[in-house]
Amino acid sequence: MNESVVQLRGITKTYRIGREITVNALRGVDLDVRPAEFLAIMGPSGSGKSTLMNVLGCLDVADGGTYVLAGENVNKLSDDKLASIRNKHVGFVFQTYNLLSRLNAIENVELPLIYGGDRKQRRERALAALEQVGLGDRIHHRPSELSGGQQQRVAIARALLNDPSMILADEPTGNLDSRSSAEILSIFQRLNDLGKTVVMVTHEPDVAAHCKRVVRMRDGLIAHDELVPRPRRAEDEIALGIGAAE
């Protein structure tokens, strides 16, 4: 497929802190993400990777440049339009899982379908997604009754639910031990094998080593963009009994 999932051209974003200080978080970023890519975005803090991630996820809009997501130009869309785009095209996985504590696993997974989609299929699809991440037996557990790794898997199931164009993961293993991290990474790799596009922000080289392509940011620009010759397989590491980040 030639069509890019993500096409960024000259994206700029400036923040204003207080009255006088302005921060150029993004200074003209060009980036293409093709279908079924597994991309890591790396960079030191302040390099603009969080801002890039927010723009990619349509949580924030760029000041300049064009952004085409799955064939739709998302520049200058209204808040509600952006919400629909997020609902349809982006599946978020956060470092802190961001599950709703008073809902159980399956209700958390169903959330995107509440805001778009057919009510009748909701339970069915949520169940399928939870089974895909290996939590088919914990659907009625609340987040507080699940381990960190399990919570992150619920979050991944939620991200999968609307069959998004791209899964956007922000330090998904940041709060996890090495064993759970490996499990999460193996899920991403498996999804990617099935053709899902995954974009992951991380600062850990060991985690990035599982991706097919690594983009490094510095001072609001992309400094390096390279393919990983032979990505590490998380499931092999689990089999060998070593964690991903060891």
Binding site: L59, R86, N87
Partner: protein
């Protein structure tokens, strides 16, 4: 987002914070309950006032002597003795069948009464023969005295049911004799008493309290001529003439007719200088209705203020809730919630709080009126919870949910997803 889902998530969050939801609702519950109870008391009071007035007889026009005035100065409480039994008879003759009935009345004051060894003290009134018709007051036994009893100044009496019970217990009073006593002369040895025998010919049916703290069932009625000649000595003078119009619609016309008859008889050409005053019962009802309406409004307003305070409580809690759930709002927005979805969610939460509070408040208000009914002093007060009151109370509490929930919900809807997600 479907409305059903909004409802579900609103209810879920209310159930999660049970204590807080209950305390927040309490404000609305108390507000609605007080509106319901207060308005019920107000409505009940105004209905009681109306029924009390109507229980004195319906479609009544009352003629009383005017206050004596001299070039605009009024004598304090002094009334001219210028209405006579003949005036009443003239009204009867001249107006004929255009009025239903009329009677004249002269109070004879309080008397000591004895009969069958029992002692009692009560009011004695001289009235004319059509009294039971004018006052819509049937007899429970015996007959009312007739016009011929008036002609011969017969010493006969019709007594109230309470008076009958006090003097004769359960026994039959009709046919018995009672004695009216009045002490005169000085105190001590010189004191002598006048004793008058009256034969009881009838007992009035029970009417109950006037609501003004006096029982109308405790009185003795004697022919007005007997009262004038034997009891008071004020010959031919009457205190009041009461005319019963044929219908409520005829009252204005009848009032005019009565006034004209009396003006003519008293040789007065200018109605403004009439030596009597004519009061139309409809006017009295309207005036009292206005008073009790204001009273009800006042009570309702007091309840309304507590409802307002409850509403502010709702707003306060909703603001806290929005703050507390900033992260949740961020998550919901990240997965695709639009502004309207978030707005609905919080608005429905507020409306659910006030709606439930309203329903519980109505039940509580109803319970309060039931308790008030159990208080002996208020037992006779009809407490009216009308469907109108209920609809208004529910409507107002839901409206309070909208008004006081809107601002917090708008704040929630306007949150930026990134800031909301980062919120700790």
């Amino acid at each position: 987002m479907k409305l059903y889902d909004s409802f579900r998530s609103a209810l879920q969050s209310l159930v999660v914070n049970k204590l807080r939801s209950a305390l927040t609702m309490l404000g609305v519950i108390i507000g609605v309950a007080s509106v319901i109870a207060m308005v019920a008391v107000g409505n009940g009071a105004s209905q009681q006032v109306q029924s009390t007035i109507l229980s004195l007889g319906s479609n009544l026009i009352t003629v009383m002597p005017a206050n004596l005035s001299d070039q605009g100065l009024r004598g304090a409480g002094a009334q001219a003795a210028n209405l006579t039994l003949d005036d009443m008879r003239a009204i009867q003759t001249q107006l004929g069948s255009t009025i239903a009935a009329s009677h004249a009345e002269q109070g004879a004051g309080r008397w000591q009464v004895t009969a069958s060894g029992q002692n009692w003290n009560t009011n004695v009134n001289g009235v004319s023969e059509d009294y039971p018709i004018v006052r819509d007051w049937p007899l429970q036994s015996g007959d009312f005295f007739s016009g011929s009893d008036l002609t011969v100044n017969a010493q006969v009496a019709v007594i109230g049911s309470t008076t009958a019970t006090n003097l004769f217990g359960e026994g039959d009073a009709v046919g018995q004799t009672l004695q009216l006593r009045q002490a005169f002369g000085g105190g001590g040895k010189d004191q002598r008493a006048r004793i008058l025998n009256f034969k009881i010919v009838g007992v009035l049916a029970t009417k109950g309290s006037t609501g003004f703290g006096q029982s109308r069932d405790d009185q003795i009625l004697v022919p007005i001529t007997t009262a004038q000649r034997v009891l008071t000595g004020r010959l031919n003078v009457v205190n009041t003439i009461v005319i019963k119009a044929t219908s409520s619609d005829a009252m204005t016309d009848t009032t005019l007719d009565v006034t004209n008859v009396l003006l003519q008889r008293h040789n007065i050409s200018d109605p403004a200088s009439a030596d009597f005053s004519v009061t139309n019962q409809n006017d009295t009802l309207a005036a009292l209705g206005a008073v009790t309406g204001t009273f009800t409004l006042l009570l309702g307003a007091i309840g309304g203020i507590s409802l307002l305070v409850g509403g502010i409580g709702i707003m306060n809690i909703m603001l806290v809730s929005v703050n507390e759930r900033t992260r949740e709002i961020g998550i919901r927005k990240a997965v695709g919630a639009r502004r309207g979805d978030i707005l609905n969610q919080f608005l429905i939460e507020a409306i659910a709080l006030t709606g439930f509070g309203g329903v519980i408040g109505i039940l509580l208000g109803w319970a309060i009126t039931e308790v008030v009914h159990r208080i002996p002093q208020a037992a006779s007060l009809p407490l009216l919870i009308t469907s109108g009151t209920v609809i208004i109370a529910v409507g107002v509490s839901v409206a309070i949910g909208v008004v006081f929930g809107l601002y917090p919900a708008m704040r929630a809807a306007r949150l930026h997803p990134i800031q909301a997600l980062r919120y700790e």
